[in-house]
């Protein structure tokens, strides 16, 4: 409980030391149908401002066709202490991986 409160007051939209502007995460798409991938972050005061800064910092040289900007505070992130419970268990159970299963002879289109 205490820990949760501490985490929420340290929300990432709080002004970092070097600027009064909020932080935004930038996602770029490099071709139609491709996924939007996280490129980095920018500081900005408004959504339009964030979009422009994202364009100038991350989209000028590449083949970017689409941009998303998201207030950093809107991202719900796992915390490092979750890593064990959330991500470890799968690896020792081979049957959870598709490679575990042999494809029967004669099956096509898999």
């Amino acid at each position: 409980m205490t820990k949760d409160t501490a985490a929420s007051t340290a929300a990432p939209d709080r002004a970092p030391a070097d600027t009064q502007w909020g932080l935004w995460e930038v996602f770029t798409q490099e071709g139609e149908g491709a996924p939007h991938e996280h490129a980095g972050s920018v500081h900005a005061t408004t959504a339009e401002h964030a979009m422009q800064n994202a364009r100038d910092v991350y989209a000028r040289r590449g083949k970017v066709v689409s941009l998303w900007v998201v207030p950093t505070a809107s991202i719900i992130a796992s915390v490092p202490s979750d890593a064990g419970p959330m991500f470890d268990p799968g690896n020792d159970k081979a049957y959870r991986h598709p490679q575990f299963y042999k494809v029967p002879r004669g099956v096509r289109g898999l």
């Binding site: 900005a44 401002h49 422009q52 364009r55 910092v57 000028r60």
Partner: protein, 296 residues
């Protein structure tokens, strides 16, 4: 107009009697290391070739403003804006380079874009005075950029229809860039004008100081008219109303007040500049002049 045309000659190579060949100490011997850097007679303000002259007007606005913006590199208020201003500077300098290259070809004296950028003196520059003014504070840089961008978008929209394919092509590429420049500078004018008391006061002061210099953007002389007739130019007077609409709308949103018209300095288009251009060029041209012909 025709009479002026005849007086000026048709611009086919040899300059007339004035000024005497190779004025001052800039004779051919001093030029030999930069091919075509200073062909004889090129240092005068006399119009020989209106197409060349007009292209210089288009190019020099971009070259000078681009250099002014580049002065912010490493000094802008925040990293993101530092990159944004450098991006715009590079766009403008790229446009200038393409236009100067074309101007050099049309002049036909072997001058390259670099020769035209780095080996002309202030009196040979044809930019409007607005773009050569010192950057001032961030508000002044942004307001100047906005006033220019709003004009530039309208100008380039027309120039894309130029009958000269090179001019139309350069303009089409530049127009995409200019639309983004306007989006960026207009948004900043809104943020500064409708921001804090301090940012509002600075933006209004910048607007008051820069406003007189906007009038020159809409002046039309014989060179412009010849360029229009030749299918490479725009009668900028016809852009004024649309420009006012854009400016008024953004200023309203920014809670800024459009200054009254009055003082309207002019002269940049014929080589008469403020004292600031010479100093800026001394800085901009020093490297190329200290190491002529250097490549990097």
């Amino acid at each position: 107009m025709n009479a002026e045309n005849r007086e000026r000659g048709t611009g086919n190579g040899e300059p007339g009697g004035y000024p005497p060949q190779a004025g001052g100490g800039n004779g051919a011997t001093a030029d030999s290391w930069v091919p075509g850097a200073r062909p004889g007679g090129a240092t005068s303000g006399v119009v020989e070739n209106s197409t060349f002259e007009y292209l210089l007007r288009l190019a020099d606005d971009r070259l000078v403003l681009g250099h002014r913006l580049s002065e912010w590199c490493g000094h802008a208020p925040i990293l993101e804006e530092d990159i944004a201003l450098a991006n715009i500077a590079l766009d403008l300098i790229g446009q200038a380079s393409a236009l100067l290259k074309l101007a050099g070809e049309i002049e036909g004296k072997g001058r390259t874009d670099d020769a035209l950028a780095y080996f002309r003196d202030a009196i040979e520059f044809r930019n409007a005075q607005l773009v050569e003014l010192p950057n001032g504070d961030f508000a002044a840089t942004i307001v100047r950029q906005f006033l220019f961008d709003a004009w530039d978008v309208l100008l380039l929209e027309r120039l894309t229809a130029a009958t000269n394919e090179s001019v139309a092509g350069i303009s089409a590429k530049a127009l995409k860039e200019a639309r983004y420049h306007l989006r960026h500078s207009a948004e900043w004018v809104r943020m500064l004008g409708d921001g804090t008391a301090e940012s509002h006061a600075r933006a209004q002061r910048a607007l008051d100081e820069l406003w007189p210099y906007t009038h020159e953007l809409f002046l039309v002389d014989a060179t412009d008219r010849e360029a229009v007739a030749a299918g490479i130019g725009v009668d900028t007077e016809t852009l004024r109303l649309a420009w006012r609409e854009t400016v008024d709308r953004v200023l309203r949103e920014a809670t800024l007040t459009r200054p009254k018209d009055g003082f309207a300095p002019r002269g940049g288009r014929t080589g008469r500049h403020t004292e600031h251009l010479g100093r800026m060029l001394a800085d901009m041209q020093s490297l190329a002049r200290a190491h002529p012909g250097a490549t990097w």
